[in-house]
Symmetry: C2
Subunit: 326 residues, 2 copies
């Protein structure tokens, strides 16, 4: 224990003396199938992923914080109708849009999250307000929306969120599963966006945002707004954002479990992330993936579904965008 | 890793061959001060704690499951107006009662939780329904209340929950802190109930229930309904229920952190629990405590506040009830 604490302290010291290798990783959700993605849509998705990647990385390059970088990235993904968060969020069984988001900063261990909010254009901005403007971590529903109004965050009409594609998606799911509460055919039903970053000062941050499961029951909360389940960041260790079948990510505390294996078992980032996604979760038949970055700028993006929209950029400024195993 | 897995497997095997030492531990919240507890009220509290303890232990003794035992215990504590859960739950700033609860069973890793529910007599029963009757883990507000109606759970009028003592408590907090969103004087403001159990079959379970913080903002969710923060159970490892300043317990994943230290660092239950409560949380100035039982029936009940209502009973059937360091 003493050696581990000493090595963590030495690591922090070395990070403080040298600039950390700025790194940004993002995801746009797991579960996409090769057969369901047209070439045209794939090109559109890749373009938005790269745009979000470059915008977040530019924040880091200009000396901005990892907190600001993950915000910038996630806001762009929320504003795109292509991903299940903000605009383009999937519909509940009742045909409404209920969104969840969270953010955590490793430097302070502070976190903010919202669940089941309607009408707020960028739920990740509201999560940040919960962190900065209240003594709380998680706020839900109308209470959270009140805070958004107080903080003058932008609201949009239902029409802004509800795209024709999402309306059709809900109908398809209702037809295929008979009941919308059935967990079957999750590839049609899930999706999340998220980002993790390491800034030049060595600070880690993570953020996640989602509309949840297509056809979910009103009031259902997935892993995205839950610290330790869908999102986690701790300086000196790692930052993690998850996507997948949320209930399994909650019960297995997936985001924190990556950090816990690193802290307590001395496991490396890639091994810890792989073990959870491709061993533990796979055995439970839980589909999904995660993105993670450690304090040295190592990254890991394992997934056990057909595909996971993802992109990453290190200190070299080269953009990498991927969807399937490529 | 292989040795640890082997030893866990041997442990499970030995537990399967011999009956596990049935154990029940409960808490009625941390933060109680010696000066604020009259002798009369202390006697009343001790009586209810012992009643809940004996009822839960009787379930285990009759061969019942740890899941049933923690339910039985928590329902009695919820029905008592003396503790901050169910009847006797504290009031929000708006004068309403918004309750949270969760349950997790180690045998299956299944979990259920509710946040921000009104009118449901026993939120812990609703948490169990979420686990058993839906594919979800966490449900909030009206969506959760709908499920309670479908499952024919008992509802009560606001008058049932709102005791004159809680009305006076909200007024006191409003006067003392000026603003009810101030986190100061938490000893007046917090409280939770919970139970952990090991049954004869070696299965662990944990449950937690609360009304949250006195004068909390509408929509605020604490650690009690969050798996891994306020509640966690994993067969072969431990079951944990927390109480205290919820935001710190969320950010530090306190309940799961006990299990993670045991699994990945090989730390014993008592050492893991003590390190978190009396070192990590104390350094953060985070007040509270937890109760925990491991797969061998070892228990730990650390707290860093003035007092923590707690009680425990092992295979010998002797009742232990404590409030302060005694």
């Amino acid at each position: 224990m003493i050696f581990r604490m000493l090595s963590l302290w030495l690591l922090s010291l070395s990070l403080a003396l040298a600039e950390a290798p700025i790194t940004l990783v993002l995801h746009g959700g797991a579960g996409v199938g090769k057969s369901t993605l047209t070439a045209e849509r794939e090109a559109e998705c890749r373009q938005v992923l790269e745009e979000a990647l470059r915008a977040g990385h530019a924040v880091l390059k200009a000396g901005g914080s990892s907190q600001e970088a993950v915000q910038t990235t996630v806001v762009i993904l929320e504003d795109s109708p292509l991903f299940n968060a903000g605009r383009g969020a999937v519909l509940t069984a009742a045909g409404t849009v209920e969104m969840d988001a969270s953010i955590m900063v490793g430097a302070t261990g502070q976190a903010g999250a919202v669940a089941g909010v309607q009408g707020v254009r960028n739920p990740v901005r509201l999560a940040e307000k919960v962190m900065l403007k209240t003594p709380h971590v998680l706020m839900t529903g109308r209470g959270a929306e009140e805070l958004a109004r107080e903080e003058k965050l932008r609201f949009e009409e239902p029409e802004w969120f509800i795209t024709p594609a999402q309306r059709a998606r809900l109908e398809r799911v209702k037809k295929q599963t008979g009941s919308v509460s059935s967990p079957s055919d999750l590839s049609l039903r899930m999706g999340t966006v998220g980002a993790v970053a390491l800034d030049a000062a060595g600070n880690l941050a993570a953020a996640t945002s989602t509309g949840g499961l297509v056809g979910k029951r009103a009031g259902r909360v997935g892993d995205s707004p839950l610290i330790g389940a869908g999102t986690y960041a701790e300086n000196g260790i790692c930052a993690v954002s998850c996507t997948g079948h949320g209930e399994f990510f909650i019960r297995n505390l997936v985001a924190y479990d990556v950090a816990a294996r690193m802290k307590y078992a001395g496991t490396g980032l890639a091994e810890a992330a792989e073990e959870i996604v491709n061993d533990k979760l796979k055995k439970l038949d839980a589909r999904g993936g995660l993105i993670a970055v450690d304090a040295k700028g190592n990254i890991s993006t394992p997934f056990n579904s057909d595909g996971m929209f993802r992109a990453w950029m290190g200190p070299d400024g080269l953009a990498h965008v991927a969807i399937f195993n490529e």
